[in-house]
Symmetry: C2
């Protein structure tokens, strides 16, 4: 997606430790006109996949999932992080090491919102080491639901998460793939 | 908003301590067709207010803000909770007691995303005691920006937050106002 690559180059900022800061359009300030283009790309890719539900992870995935859901005419369920749980029997929980936050996150989703036979599209803003995405796939599989697509806005290929997920047998569709960010120089794949 | 009241009555669940659980359409699963109606209501109310930016609080406010922003053609900035701060000079921070989570939250917004003279529409899913909304108003005022509207999906009038904000001189537009929830019986105002 050329517009995305352009925005990464002009508005993104490479921080220490392999962090790409894109808070001007994706993570803090949301450029809605741009995210609408992202939604169109995901719709175009997944419109014939039979999706009946989009699952994403709070918070930055929610805007992308919401816009894509408008095109696909399906509901969104967002996985919560670190919520206080009263009734663990009612939820799936996975512990995940966060790449950017240097701490463990507990991912939580109510069992009633993933059903056997669901055809789920997973969407998220970033794919780095793939810990959160792996955990989310585990939850969907525990529920006996099917993953019919995985869409990512920015994949940092050099951190290996995409390979890990593809090795599990899933197709990952990323709108921008970053091959390296050495010396603050962003190089895209392809 | 009649559709919202209907959904609260049929899908909402009153929990102990004045908590209204609406995770089937607003807080965990997002009913996008319904949220689109919410966005239309907010657009209709605020389209002539000169809004140039919507501010909301992660996570449940993001979907509503995103959809409303599509109609108003403005960006969204979402306030973050409890993020690790490297550069406190670059952000506004407010500590807030959360009603549902029984703990303190740190609300954080980058200074660069609220500018003097901005005409800001604040949107959020719930208004209970008003702690988070009060903190958000403080941040906007510190930045010298103007609040041209406040839109809430569900106001729990009996918890007093709306009165508190209105006493500060702000008009609060709530799509459903709940007067009481005693004995699991939801009574709306008007």
């Amino acid at each position: 997606m050329d517009l995305l690559k352009q925005k990464i180059l002009t508005e993104g900022e490479v921080l220490d430790g392999g962090v790409l800061k894109v808070d001007n359009f994706l993570n803090h300030r949301l450029d809605i006109e741009f995210l609408n283009e992202v939604g169109l790309y995901f719709n175009d890719k997944f419109k014939n996949a039979g999706v009946n539900k989009i699952i994403t992870i709070e918070s930055s995935g929610i805007a992308i999932a919401t816009i894509t859901a408008q095109y696909l005419h399906v509901p969104v369920v967002f996985v919560k992080k670190n919520v206080h749980i009263n009734l663990p029997d009612d939820v799936y929980i996975e512990n995940v090491q966060s790449f950017t936050q240097k701490k463990d996150n507990k991912l939580v989703i109510a069992k009633k919102f993933i059903n056997k036979g669901d055809k789920i599209l997973i969407l998220d803003d970033f794919l780095a080491k793939g810990n959160a995405l792996n955990a989310l796939i585990n939850m969907v599989e525990k529920a006996g639901a099917n993953i019919v697509g995985i869409g990512i806005v920015i994949e940092k290929v050099f951190q290996g998460g995409g390979d890990r997920i593809r090795e599990r047998g899933f197709d990952v569709y990323s709108l921008a793939k970053i091959k390296s960010m050495e010396n603050n120089h962003i190089v895209f794949e392809d």
